[in-house]
């Protein structure tokens, strides 16, 4: 087990800089997610840790060892590939036993090595030692696949293949577990239950885990901390709640959850009540937050806007009230999403839907109420 520290890592492919000066400190036992759109460098970062790519400059430490000179096959990072990369010519048992066999092979003299090669190529030529057998069956039981040990991997379902890949990586007792978009090949329902399975196993074993994904929901629901990446840079590192409630850039506000991001001009900051007045395209907003810049962006989550009938009288000092027109309403079951127009500004509003309430029809004039504290400034 170990921590992972990356210092000033840069990776270039020819003229293209895939990673700009990456710095990361991942604690021992932490579940850490690398989140970002495709091409942001998250997979490259992981491949550098695994040793499949070599950083152009910078350092990587696993535990307290610098791994720069250690080849990929001796880094002891268990990896779960996006495609699972199960060996198609081996059954479940042999896939999981592979790393243990290799360990034994590397520790043997040349004559014994021949025997192990023979055994790996054909089962008729030798038996797997008892200690390996026991270890493999133990981990297979752990991922609930002991019944399928003799099956070919192609005969398994997606979720089962995923668990074989996980077991294969875990059996070598890796210092770090690396997972590259492991859930992207599963269907929606399975993905949910696999999230729980992976999180439970990780907690249970207390293994340092780095998880690459482009799905913010996945990262937020599983990870202790998340690093959001964009165009080869780390934009923000934080716990899921920090990222959601305090995005540092419009990119994160938009990528982590949905946001209304409005261009505003800071008109005034009232020292007495602590309110900042903002002038938008065709509206005035107030916020309890402050910012130094003149031109800023106001970020408002859709669920933080309340929709009220136009004739409602609002007597609340804590909120800004805007007038809007419903452009479209989409019924999503528990919530209703409105596309609104406030002057020329488009806004998205999510309201919870409980039976009995009516949905504002399109074209209707409504009032929108926004708490001052919910208006973030970036």
């Amino acid at each position: 087990m170990g921590s992972v520290i990356i210092e000033n890592m840069t990776k270039q492919f020819g003229d293209f800089t895939a990673l700009h000066n990456i710095n990361l400190e991942i604690q021992e036992g932490e579940f850490f997610a690398l989140l970002g759109p495709s091409g942001c460098g998250k997979t490259t970062t992981m491949r550098c840790i695994a040793g499949f790519e070599h950083p152009t400059s910078g350092k990587i430490k696993i535990g307290d060892k610098e791994v720069e000179k250690i080849p990929a096959n001796r880094r002891n990072c268990g990896m779960v590939f996006q495609s699972y990369a199960l060996f198609p010519h081996m059954n479940v048992f042999d896939n999981v036993a592979y790393s243990l066999n290799i360990k034994q092979l590397n520790a043997s003299n040349p004559v014994k090595q021949l025997g192990i090669y023979a055994r790996l190529l054909s089962k008729r030529l030798g038996r797997t030692p008892k200690d390996i057998q026991e270890k493999v069956m133990e981990i297979l039981k752990y991922v609930e696949l002991d019944q399928h040990a003799e099956r070919l991997t192609s005969e398994l379902s997606g979720g089962q293949q995923q668990r074989v890949a996980l077991a294969r990586a875990l059996v070598m007792e890796p210092a770090v577990l690396l997972m590259d978009e492991p859930l992207s090949n599963l269907d929606q329902k399975l993905r949910h239950s696999m999230r729980n399975t992976i999180r439970t196993i990780q907690q249970d074993l207390g293994i340092t885990t780095i998880f690459v994904t482009h799905d913010q929901e996945e990262a937020m629901s599983m990870a202790d901390r998340v690093a959001v990446m964009d165009k080869g840079n780390i934009v923000q590192i934080g716990t899921p709640t920090e990222l959601y409630s305090n995005p540092l850039t419009p990119f994160i506000a938009d990528f982590v959850g949905t946001s209304n991001i409005l261009d505003v001009e800071v008109v005034d900051h009232n020292q007495l009540n602590g309110l900042t007045t903002l002038k938008g395209d065709s509206f005035l907003l107030q916020s309890t937050n402050t910012i130094e810049k003149k031109q800023a962006k106001a970020v408002i989550r859709p669920e933080h806007i309340q929709v009220l009938p136009y004739d409602t009288a609002v007597n609340n000092e804590e909120v800004t009230v805007l007038e809007g027109i419903v452009v479209m309403s989409t019924y999503l079951g528990p919530t209703v999403r409105y596309d609104m127009k406030v002057g020329n500004q488009e806004m998205i509003v999510d309201t919870t839907y409980s039976s009995g309430t009516s949905i504002f029809e399109e074209g209707r004039k409504v009032k929108l109420s926004i708490e001052h504290g919910r208006v973030l400034l970036i």
Partner: protein, 564 residues
Amino acid sequence: MKARFNGLSVVKIFIYAFFGLFLIIPLLAVFLISFTNEPVNIIGTFTDPAVFSSTIDKLKAINLENYRQIFSNAGYLDSLKNSLSLALVVMVLVILICIPLAYGIARTNMPFKKTISALCTIPLIIPTFISAYAFIIMFGRAGWVTYFYEMLGGEGMLIDPYSMTGIILVQVFFFFPYALWPLVAAFKISDVTLEEASLNLGAKNWFTFIFVTFPLAIPGIISSALLIFTVSFSDFGTPIVLAPKDLNLMVVEAYREISGFFNWGGAAILTVIMIIVAALFFWLQHILTKGKNYGSVSGKPKQQKMVTNKVVTRSLSVYSFIIVLVPLLAMLSVLLQSVATTWGKDLLPSGYTLKHYQTIFSTSLGNIQNSIVLAIGALVLSVIIATFVSYFVVRQNSAKMDFMTSIPLVVPGIAFGIALIQTFNVAPLQLTGTAILLIIAYTIRRLPYMVRSTMGAMRAIKQDIEEAAINLGATPLTAAITVIGPLLLPGIAAGSVLVFITVIKETSISILLAPPEWAPMSLAIFQNILRAEYYSAAAMSVILVALVLVLQGLASYIGKKQRL
């Protein structure tokens, strides 16, 4: 990492050198000779100053006179015309014959569909010169068909096998499977929804076939037609056995120029023209199939509505049996002849004996041995080269290497043979008449098939499988032995069986290049036919076909195992 890269670079240079020496230089030499009209020793030019100066003199004398003469030479011009019209007629007939057959297999529930499909592979395993010879047994002056024909009141022969008609018939009945399977795929392109849409719009069934199903199959039909054209144009086995003296065909003419008259210039010009025509049609076919990978063959199978109308399916079935009956009867005739004491102008032989096989095993065992040794040599060389070539093409995206190893596909065997003889019959690399040149020629000619087979297997192994092994602690060598090797093996095995079979069947290269002490079975049969020793030719043919059948069975067994 670096050392491995360097090692592979050396291998790459070796492969380029091999192809350069044994494919590019010979083709270049033929091209030059077609202008100089005299042999040019390209390799000698760079090693021997005397040869160098003579080459320069020859190059100075280059002119188009030779080509001009050729086009005024009625013989050559005739042979081009004849070859083109032969290929054209065969192409049209094959497509006409195949359309109902392919439609029956692809879109109807005709009875005995599986049996018919299986029988349709027979022609592919028989070398064409044996098919041609089988036609002599059937339609010749003393053939049983001729006997039948006269019994029914006909006069003379029904069809003279020694004629253009004979050649056309042999090629049509033995080349049609090359077009059949692409056509079956083409008829499966049309989706049931399209046809139902047409019916829904008020069209009748036949109308739907003519205006929906058939037009969708047209690209496939044209592409198969071009393929048949190239195959027919390049075929040497049929014309060399059946072409009468007064019928000029390019392949035969080229063979006669080189083996009879040692006319280098003439052979070179014929070779150049042959390659240009074959390459042109191959290229046309390539553009047509490019991007149209018969969507229905791979990926999600489309739903097809099968025609169940009994009148249609039964007549298609009967028709199909008639088509596959011809090659089947041809093979049976060879089999009968091989066990006949004598078989004159009669329906059946007058008696049966195994004496011809005895003769073969006592006197011609050497030919069988030669065939096997040569085929194994070509196989080993192909496996080594193809494995590396597919590695370079798949993992390093080496388009140049891909192109170079595809060149042999467009060079007719007889043309390649002539090019090799011209290049290697003089010092410093005098290889003509050696087994080595024969093996190299077989290897280069059949390498494209081998490369395709191993490349497919290599493509199926994704990069991350290799990475997974390394991630789990394996060194690159261990990963190669325990993961990549076992996964690549089926592709190599299937490819090598294919190489072995095609080398044993190979006619043109064997006839041109094999020295007497290395004569393979195909050459022995050919000589027996020329010497009118028909019974031993038949016995040897049966052994050859049996050998191919066994290997083909082995290949499909491996293929089945591979898919599991």
